[in-house]
């Protein structure tokens, strides 16, 4: 058929495939924001850690990242948990500035630490799956690794959504997000819930990193762009709403993909931010959120 139909369709499909990974990153950020009301500037660095951890294991064993991503998740869960217990809990109740500043310091330490250990070089891994393409009809083709990561990310996003909506932990987390003063009065152990939420949020970033490894370059500052995008997603989705952040991730993926297609790759991030400013100025509660800014 005609190109005006297939080219944008291919763009939208590619966007959704990337968007699923964004969604997972954004959901992690949104979970942390919801229960702690802080913007985690170390989120990108956690993603980078997940990528390097997966890279090291892959180099040592040759097991595909699509099997070893749970390792990155477990590692980053403990990193997040320890970060909360060791660094964030002692300054709870201080001004938000200081908490943000602390996460910035942590991001610097992790990024420069990675540079010391692994060097500033770009790494890329090669797995057989990378050369496989799936053709739908004659015009549309999908790169197999993206499809796999899409499936895994969507499944995990669904699982995370289920945890937040159907478990006691999720209920406690939502209660804290709704009212941080009333929640402890209802017998919720705020410290523990926040620590676990921080751990799960960080694990989401780490797993996204593992899933990104086969299709992306790896270098110490790789997390920065994803950190910025996760800010955009959290706001678009309505701060603290994890399903909102998930949808925002998919939307962001499609918007970026179409921008790259019609306007050039270099404008993709700029369009993200313009979208972000528009949403903040027109509907600060986010497109999908119900909370007031």
């Amino acid at each position: 058929m005609v190109n005006w139909f297939y080219i944008p369709l291919q763009g939208i499909i590619n966007g959704l495939l990337t968007g699923a990974l964004y969604a997972l990153i954004g959901m992690g950020m949104a979970l942390i924001f919801g229960v702690m009301r802080i913007v985690n500037f170390a989120h990108g660095a956690f993603l980078m850690m997940g990528m390097y951890a997966t890279y090291v294991v892959f180099q040592a064993t040759g097991v595909s990242p699509y099997y070893e991503f749970p390792l990155a998740g477990i590692l980053l869960f403990f990193v997040g948990y320890a970060t909360y217990m060791g660094l964030l809990r002692p300054i709870r109740g201080q001004v938000d500035f200081m908490v943000i500043l602390l996460t910035m310091g942590l991001a610097l330490v992790l990024t420069d630490g990675a540079q010391l250990v692994f060097g500033a070089d770009y790494h890329q891994i090669n797995i057989p799956l990378l050369s496989r393409n799936i053709h739908l009809g004659s015009q549309i083709s999908i790169n197999a690794p993206w499809l796999v990561s899409f499936a895994i990310a969507m499944a995990l996003a669904g699982a995370l959504y289920w945890v937040v909506t159907h478990t006691m932990f999720g209920r406690a987390a939502r209660a804290i997000a709704q009212n941080p003063y009333a929640a402890p009065l209802m017998g919720i152990n705020v410290n523990r819930v926040q620590a676990v939420a921080f751990g799960i949020g960080s694990a989401a970033a780490g797993i996204s990193g593992a899933l990104l490894l086969p299709v992306f370059y790896l270098f110490p500052e790789v997390g920065n762009q994803f950190k910025l995008k996760s800010f955009v997603m959290v706001v678009l989705g309505g701060m603290g709403s994890i399903q909102g952040a998930a949808i925002a991730g998919l939307v962001l993926g499609v918007v970026e993909s179409l921008t790259s297609l019609y306007w050039g790759n270099e404008w993709a991030l700029a369009v993200d931010f313009v979208l972000f400013i528009l949403v903040l100025s027109l509907k600060p509660s986010g497109i999908f959120g119900s909370q007031r800014a």
Binding site: I91, D96, L101, L108, L116, V235, E266, I277, A293
Partner: protein, 333 residues
């Protein structure tokens, strides 16, 4: 306490003016240039981030607009100092636009919005090579033909002194009290008739003007700029870190923060080589954990413990009759 702080800072800045006369190398002077540049930027940031309590993480926007204003206006044939002025005006116009959108938001939303604006400016500057030179960069005219490094150093020390004087004056003015009221509780401030929107915008305009001037001086010192050098998020966060670690909302906090952090960064670069950012990050974490009110904020509070206790015990607020008031006044004398 405040008088002493101001006096020490004034003496320090005065002494700093004489430093170049002691035959320092250009390299050392460039480091000191950076120290005082960030002191001025931190003081400017402090008006918005410290006194008014609005965490701006997008001050790179005004810095970069000041820098690019100088470069681009002088490319049009305008004389350099007039271009500096136009750049500062342009930074203020940007501030008015950014402020009118972002000040409607609170807390983390505001911080993220300022980041977004600065990033949009950086990306636009990168992606419009016809206008800004893009990643190839653009030349900036030299503002001081005669012994440039010294002149640049003196000009940032003067800028710091100006920013400090202005902060001291604002801190004690009605405008300053409005800002602090907004920081403490915006709703209460609004309810007693403070025009919060206008106050915050004025604070941002003043802050942006100083930041833009700093950006122009920086650009002219380096003679050549690219977007990733004058508009990145790192500039925004560095400005905020200097002011917050020094003590947000304190008069000399940003100056102390800049002197300590910028010289620490330089020392770390030489001592720890590649690990310098790691140590710098650890330094930030340690200061946040142990001095959560910033260096100056925490010290003033510690020192306040040893201040002379007030003559009237603080259980005194019995019905304050006129007699009791005058008695207390007499006791205090």
């Amino acid at each position: 306490m405040r008088k002493w702080q101001l006096l020490i800072a004034a003496v320090f800045l005065l002494a700093a003016l004489f430093v170049p006369l002691f035959g320092l190398t250009d390299y050392t002077l460039q480091i000191l240039f950076r120290v005082f540049l960030f002191a001025a930027l931190g003081l400017a940031w402090n008006l918005v981030g410290g006194y008014a309590g609005q965490l701006s993480l997008g001050h790179a926007a005004y810095f970069g607009v000041g820098a690019y204003g100088l470069a681009l206006f002088s490319k049009l044939g305008i004389s350099p100092w007039a271009a500096v002025l136009l750049g500062v005006v342009l930074a203020m116009i940007c501030a008015a636009m950014i402020g009118s959108v972002s000040f409607r938001l609170r807390g983390p939303y505001f911080a993220l919005c300022t980041i977004a604006f600065a990033e949009v400016l950086r990306l636009v500057a990168k992606n419009l090579p016809n206008v800004t030179g893009g990643d190839v960069g653009v030349q900036v005219p030299l503002l001081f033909a005669h012994s440039p490094v010294r002149s640049f150093y003196w000009s940032v020390v003067l800028l710091t002194a100006f920013a400090l004087g202005l902060s001291a004056w604002i801190e004690r003015s009605r405008f300053g009290y409005y800002l602090m009221a907004i920081r403490e509780d915006q709703d209460t401030a609004l309810s007693v008739g403070v025009n919060a929107a206008r106050c915050k915008l004025w604070a941002l305009l003043i802050s942006a003007a100083i930041t833009g001037l700093g950006g122009a001086l920086y650009a002219s010192m380096f003679l050549f700029i690219v977007p990733d050098q004058v508009l990145p998020m790192e500039i925004s966060t560095e400005i905020a870190i200097v002011a917050m670690l020094g003590g947000a909302g304190t008069l000399i906090g940003p100056l102390v923060g800049s002197v300590l952090l910028e010289s620490a960064a330089e020392i770390f670069k030489n001592v720890f080589k590649e690990a310098n950012l790691l140590i710098y990050g650890v330094l930030i974490i340690v200061v946040v954990l142990f001095m959560p009110e910033g260096i100056v904020g925490t010290f003033t509070r510690k020192l306040a413990l040893f201040k002379k206790a007030p003559a009237v015990p603080f259980a005194a607020p019995v019905p304050a009759t006129i007699e009791a008031e005058s008695e207390r006044a007499a006791l205090n004398e």
